[in-house]
Symmetry: C2
Amino acid sequence: MNAGVVGTLRKLIGEDWVLDNLEQTKGYLYDQTEELIRPRAAEDSIVVKPGNTKEVSEILKYANEVKIPIVPRGGGTGLCGAAIPTKSSIILSDERLNKTIEVDELNLMVTCDAGVTLAALLEKLKEYDNLFFPVHPGDEGAHIGGMVVQNAGGAKAVRHGIMRNHIKGLEVVFPTGEITNLGGKLIKNNSGLDLLHLMIGSEGILGIVTKVILKLYPEPKYSGTLLVSFNNREDAIAVVPQILQRGIIPLAIEYMERDVALESAEHIGAKWPAVDGSVDVIIILSEDKEDTLYEKSEEIVEICDSNNAVYTSIAESAREQNTILAVRSNVYTAVKHNAVDGLDMAVPIGSIPDFMREIFRLADRYGAKTPSVGHAGDGNIHNFIMRENGEIPPYYEELKEEMYKTAVKYGGTITAEHGIGKTRVPNLALQLSHKEIELIKAIKKAFDPNGILNPGTVVNIE
Amino acid sequence: MNAGVVGTLRKLIGEDWVLDNLEQTKGYLYDQTEELIRPRAAEDSIVVKPGNTKEVSEILKYANEVKIPIVPRGGGTGLCGAAIPTKSSIILSDERLNKTIEVDELNLMVTCDAGVTLAALLEKLKEYDNLFFPVHPGDEGAHIGGMVVQNAGGAKAVRHGIMRNHIKGLEVVFPTGEITNLGGKLIKNNSGLDLLHLMIGSEGILGIVTKVILKLYPEPKYSGTLLVSFNNREDAIAVVPQILQRGIIPLAIEYMERDVALESAEHIGAKWPAVDGSVDVIIILSEDKEDTLYEKSEEIVEICDSNNAVYTSIAESAREQNTILAVRSNVYTAVKHNAVDGLDMAVPIGSIPDFMREIFRLADRYGAKTPSVGHAGDGNIHNFIMRENGEIPPYYEELKEEMYKTAVKYGGTITAEHGIGKTRVPNLALQLSHKEIELIKAIKKAFDPNGILNPGTVVNIE
């Protein structure tokens, strides 16, 4: 990066907060996208760490004037390369925007600076008796601002939905430098086209989020975790819609293949409690009353039994529950070193069994293994395409495209929660029409006339 | 309207479905906006009634080519003039797009044609044991498509949120004629900028909604209605955040002043059960278990007692409940004939008492009466500005603007659920920044380059 640019930025936000040395910047050049498919970073990118919203605005105004790309960066926990600067860029890290976590008990909301980590928010909420924020994408190093622009999901979407459902207000800096507050501590707000919702999931191409207002909830007092094993995928998957139709809305319904569970258990040095069967379903319940918890558990066991469950256990102690959840949480880390790509498709829940059957048939046709885990309760399954001899197998692109087409055929999506970022841009047209892509480009142009924000993300604009 | 236009449209969709005679069209020239502030309709507007999505597309292509405004119309139940053609227009009524109501029990979703009424949807759901759609804006003549583009709210938002929370998929025709499906039967979907959420609340300025996929829910089995009376507004309003903080999320918390309740009761020939006090709060609970219903009712009564409630009754019989709800539902109809404007502001729930105090002080300053009812549980209060001698009082615009400024000062909105439409366009800048209005205009331009869709709604574009 040009020394003049570095000098100007240092004048704007201070000597210490502009890094231009690769030793210092290299930790900012990647996110958690799988290594073999990770976009290549432009190593002459520099890092800026503004300390407040006004500095964010000044950086954007300057970058917009000299037309240098800005790549916004939160916790770097993303899985689609959105935070990787593929062109020589100014990486705008929100790590110093982490001072405020203001809990408003009266309104059941919290205002966070964008750079606050999920871990810090959860820690803060422990100071309160009964307050709960439901979205948990797995990695607590995620920044709240990043969770907004990636519209984070996670396991609890069955009951609580995704980030979008809980974001009430945003402070945003637009690429032309204007600082704007969208929404507020409001349950209802119909004043014009909803720019707040347009920002959610916008992956850093429309503006920089600097503050977030989130809804909080009273926390149910009792929770229990059921672990149920089956001899085959079909039986396991079939219980999901049956539970939901019975009017039981668990906190999470997770699907996990046994070989994946064992690998993850080994990875963290735990013992996986189930022996019989080859596929596990984890159902987490969270209820206000203990007897409701038992009644619902019994109903679920009944449903599983009538679907040929071969093993059922109800973990009530915190220790048992934690083991099961830790194994589930660590699947990604355990499998990742041997994976090319962790796909992120979703289909309507009623179509999961048929969809999964086709996915496995496709994998068989290519002689591929696709270990699978997922948030079955919301139709979102992560199928892994694995390495062969440590490398990307020759069929990878073709198999992935066939799988994506299968998801779309079932009315599904190529990405349920990880996002398009830079890695899925070539596949976007499998799901969206020409018109939708044209409108997305036009909106991008309206917000960011010089195209400085996160180029190459979501859509390629010439 | 030019005879050539009428002729072309008749060729496109059939002789019977194009009305150009004022006798036939006059019922299409207004919505439910209060009479004295209702925008004046262009009486030479014509009405088209396409029978399917393809015909909608053909009408739009033609209108876009000849640059004639299209005003989309659903049930005509709106309260902001969005459906009123203020320029000579083609009114596109979706009344014939009312064939499909497809309940998908497996996915707990329903697919409706846009012209299906809320009444028809609720009737259809009665055929099922345990399925529930929670949004109810009051008037069941509302069309589902209209409820989408107006992002309808209503009393149950405390627990279930608004239309936005339940819309999963849309079929949309863009002004340039393209038919596109946005979203689907999915809980999670992060594929690009979210055009689905941009369409929600877009008030007919971006495209025409022709089909809607909505989420359904299992219906809680037990419901009860509490009627609690207070001697003053402050005590009544203060219970709202206290109930929510206790972790009780009722289906609805409604605030109603006694004179309004009595007027509405008289209007429908019912007897209002409360005598003592001057302000009532109605709390509707809906629970899976009978004993939970009782426990929560008792907790609420306790909270109300400690806030100086002067009368409390728990209506359990369907008859008692229905009387209370009918009185609440009919407030609008009862008060309307004597009102100039039913405002629709919302503020953070914790600010309701202070906000209301200022609103009443403002009204006093102008010597105005402001009877008030509202969805107190979500911060949304409807304050009425009343007629004087049957006319708009001279202070109306000024008082309204002062009230709007007060809402904004408390972090609120000038319209929580009714929308900007045509009546609130002049006030939009009180809430939105110049930049937000500029972005809204740019998005409008991207979707509708010739500005044919619902001109004068949301933003004025020259």
